[in-house]
Amino acid sequence: MATEISVEPGTERAAVGEPPPAVELRGLRRDYGELPVLLGVTLSVPAGQTLAVLGPNGAGKTTLLRVVATLLRPTAGEVAVLGAALPREAWRVRGRIGFLGHEALLYRELTVRENLRFNARLHRLDTAEEAIAAVLRGAGLMRRADDLVRNLSAGMVQRAAICRAVLHEPELLLLDEPLAHLDPDGAGLAGRLIGPRPGRTRILVSHDTEGALAEADMALALRADGTVGYAGPAAGLSPGDARAIYAGRDR
């Protein structure tokens, strides 16, 4: 029961007055060399909602996130992000997406603050210093802001990476296991920074099935072979069903 909104990627739904979906996938396929990683994902995420992406290792969750982030181009199928058709119009949405992957994307020989300034300049933020101070406070990193990333613990690095991802107030936030390495305090702080917010659409990849489904509006469950087990409202997928898809028992 895919929630299919049959709209050409990139067109406005002016008649109804609703904004276009933040993310639209139609038959998305991505190969790695000769092997298919994602096979025919079709899904539409309305603006402002949260999508939880679940699945076992190797199911293609990270690949999906990277395609939506414009870092990978689809092998086949159609992808539209914030109204722009990828990969042709990727330049239109760069700067409006926040991405938190497995790598922190921070330079080890720079301090946290220097890393954030680097990103702020690349994104041409006007009030860079205020924005940097705000995210540092939000992540509880004010005291460590001038330490080299090399000298931080994994949890601090993760918090710094979260700062980097949300610094430019992106409309679309892509999160791959955002709470990895975080202790309960850190997770609480981080949760507020990356939590739902008006005007912000989120895609969340997580192994914590219950937690992710609890805060999601929509859910996508991938099987180990990259096919779609479930794509639709989060309410329609129970944790039990999700576990079955994980274990490959749903067919």
Partner: protein, 251 residues
């Protein structure tokens, strides 16, 4: 402007090559300095010209590939480089034979064309390790095209540089008739050039046709067998297959 068909080329090539050989052995005059050995010039120089033009042609195909993304242009670029490398090897071998017969040495640094050729040949040999080292097909083709464009721009530059590096006093080792070639030599040379050019074009067209046909064959085979698995093919040779059509997943 329709290109000559493969059949027409296949007829014309042996005719031209045979005519060239006949002229070389029965018509062209003997060189005063070098004697019979000089006749290898009629093979060596046309091979060199065709190989170099072939490298530049590969660069042009690569530009078209980058601009359009159509894998057919990548196939043409790949095959052009393939043929030119083979011809390049022949250039080096015939050049060495000529040098050995004329000067008693298997290699002469004093012949700028031969030296330039060695450099260009060494450069284009790296085309294959480059393609092998990138697994993602689409990126492999794109990077190979960037290489072909860069190397294509390099070829004339390299020839200028090597020419300049040769002392103006040192005579060209393998040059013929300082005062220009007599008409009988010109005619023989032009016919040989035409023959080698036709040979290059025929080989390239033949290889492209073979690859396209085998790609079509494997597509048909897969359609009949109903499998979606990609056919085992060379890791690097462009398959010129269109991107697989995305199939929307129905849940």
């Amino acid at each position: 402007m329709p290109l000559p068909s493969l059949r027409a080329l296949a007829f014309a090539t042996p005719v031209a090559v045979a005519a060239g050989f006949a002229l070389v052995f029965f018509y062209a005059p003997l060189d005063a300095d070098q004697g019979f050995v000089q006749k290898i010039f009629y093979l060596h120089v046309p091979l060199a010209i065709c190989a170099l033009v072939g490298f530049v042609v590969a660069g042009v195909h690569a530009i078209r590939h980058l601009r359009s993304g159509d894998p057919v242009h990548d196939l043409r670029s790949y095959v052009s480089i393939h043929a030119s490398i083979i011809f390049g090897l022949a250039v080096l071998v015939t050049g060495a034979i000529w040098a050995r017969a004329s000067w008693g040495q298997w290699w002469v640094w004093g012949e700028p064309t031969l030296v330039s050729f060695l450099i260009v040949f060494l450069l284009y040999c790296t085309y294959y390790p480059l393609r092998y080292a990138i697994e993602d097909r689409e990126r492999q083709a794109r990077y190979a095209s960037v290489f072909a464009v860069t190397a294509g721009a390099f070829v004339p530059l390299n020839f200028i540089a090597v020419r300049m590096s040769e002392s103006l006093v040192h005579p060209r080792v393998l040059a013929t008739a300082e005062g220009g070639m007599p008409p009988r030599m010109w005619l023989t040379f032009l016919v040989c050039l035409a023959g080698v050019a036709l040979l290059w074009t025929t080989l390239v067209r033949f290889e492209i046709a073979a690859k396209l046909t085998s790609a079509k064959l494997s597509r048909l085979r897969r359609a009949i067998e109903g499998t979606d698995a990609p056919a085992p093919s060379s890791r690097i040779a462009p398959s010129a297959q269109p991107r697989p059509a995305g199939a929307p997943e129905s849940v």
